[in-house]
Amino acid sequence: MRKAASWAILLLGMAYFILPLIGMVEFSLSMKRGEYSFEAYRVVLADPRFRETFMYSVVMALLTIAFGVFLVVPTAFWVRLKMPWIRPYIEFVTLLPLVIPAIVIVFGYIRLYNTSSWLPLTGSLTGTNALLLFGYMTLSLPYMYRAIDTGLRTIDVATLTEAAQSLGAGWVTILAKVILPNVLVAVLSGAFVTFAIVMGEFTLAALLNRPAFGPYLQLMGANRAYEPFALSTIAFVITWACMGLLNLVTRFSKFDKAPR
């Protein structure tokens, strides 16, 4: 009886999640009247605007990951090694982007870094791109920091550092050759979430007027009938792939470490 009720709840819940996905895929396949075809995908993939915005978002995502790792790994390492008492405060700060809505943050950017300010980032193309990059880093900070900090917890930072130091390694060597390889799995799991977030992000890119995938998708949605559904399906596959890889990586890491 309890088992039957549990199955019923689970299946009903799953139906809610699966129906929209079926609807989306079905719509994306029905561009040609009366038959299923990949016509919408063909049209979308042939659109140069798609390729441009998609590549723009991919490059931004990779840059966000690279800069994020560059910022977070040394910080989390330093906090664990030298000032563990400050860790709760840092963690609180890294969670702030979940509290402050993205639209508010980007509003602040636009007003703070406009052409007449002391740091006119929005005045030039490179500046705006950089601002968007920093915005993406801010959005992904909660996930990145948490992942890397958890990774650092599983290794003995102090001993590793001392061992490296007694062999004559400097800070850069320690970070690049000792710490980073040891938390690579954690870095990767943070990276996959970041990738998924940046690929689908709309608000920041739209308000900073950058040609990213999210605003392009919204624009297509306002003007075309079938293509946006093909694009949404592509976006969903990307999210799936990122989360699937994330799962794979974390599972892999369980067998990677000898029990202590």
Binding site: S6, P20, L21, G23, T75, F107, R111, G135, I197, F229
Partner: protein, 292 residues
């Protein structure tokens, strides 16, 4: 093992250790704190730079208050329903005697679904519950149920709420499953030994323990829905005046005709999500007392 004390040398040159936090501190100050402070301060400033409460007072006009009210209602409904359904699904999997193998796929799927927000999500629901959507057409042709004639519209309060549930339910599942797994079997057995029925066990033991976790997650979901911009814009365009859509239009083109009123709206958003998150953190600390 995890939190090893800092080496003794660290204490002797304490001021220097702060240098290690400089890049991070600078980044946070420039791209998180300063922009937010700019908004908060701007909400209390006249265009000339003097202090004023007029902007905040300006929020209390019918159209803006309405937009806050709709936003709060949608956030409330989607987080309440999301909590309920998410809880039931998690409970079904953890306590309902279902095979353990489905737990991990469910968690993975929840991770995907909670991240599948924004513009694509809006299209998924348009294709399902929109005027020509899968479910709409199916109900009409197979059962003769016309959702539209019944007053349902995807570009409405309920349409948006149902869409938001797609990321609200998985978030609830992700957060509440560990809490449910933390319920000890001994507690249930102890209650049964004392003659408690299943209902009594839930009402007097399990739910009071889980309550802070549930309510805390509710607050988190609320903030999550309140700040969601992309899904709403892609789904409704500007036909539904919720706060994020209004603020979006205000940033783009100053539709309110007063830039500082935009600051005040953004400040209002921070206040709402901030309060929701303070509740979340406070209740989380309380719930961890039991579920360790």
């Amino acid at each position: 093992m995890t939190d090893t004390p800092p080496p003794v040398t660290a204490r002797r040159r304490l001021p220097l250790t702060w240098l290690g936090l400089l890049p991070f501190g600078l980044f946070i100050a420039l791209f998180l704190i300063a922009p937010t402070m700019k908004i908060v301060i701007g909400a209390f400033q006249t265009p000339a730079g003097g202090f004023t409460l007029d902007n905040i007072r300006g929020l209390f006009t019918t159209s803006i208050l309405n937009s806050y009210w709709i936003s709060i209602k949608i956030s409330f409904a989607s987080s309440a329903i999301g909590c309920l359904i998410g809880f039931l699904m998690a409970a079904a999997v953890v306590l309902g005697g279902l095979p353990k193998v489905i737990r991990s796929p469910l968690m993975t799927f929840s991770g995907v679904a909670s991240n599948f927000a924004g513009v694509p999500l809006a299209f998924a629901f348009l294709a399902t519950l929109g005027p020509l959507g899968l479910v709409t057409v199916f109900l009409r042709t197979e059962f003769g149920i016309n959702l539209r004639a019944m007053g349902f519209n995807i570009l409405s309060f309920w349409g948006l709420t149902i869409t938001y549930l797609f990321f609200q339910i998985p978030l609830m599942i992700l957060i509440i499953t560990p809490a449910l797994e933390g319920l000890r079997r001994d507690w249930r057995e102890a209650a049964e030994c004392l003659g408690a029925s299943a209902v009594q066990y839930w009402r007097m033991v399990a739910l009071p323990i889980l309550f802070p976790a549930i309510l805390g997650t509710f607050a988190l979901l609320f903030a999550n829905a309140f700040g969601a911009v992309a899904t709403a814009i892609a789904l409704t365009g500007s036909s539904l005046n919720i706060v994020p859509i209004m603020l979006f239009a205000q940033i783009r083109g100053d539709v309110l005709g007063n830039p500082h009123l935009g600051y005040a709206m953004a400040f209002g958003m921070i206040v709402v999500t901030g309060v929701a998150n303070v509740v979340y953190i406070w209740l989380r600390v309380r719930s961890e007392r039991w579920l360790k």
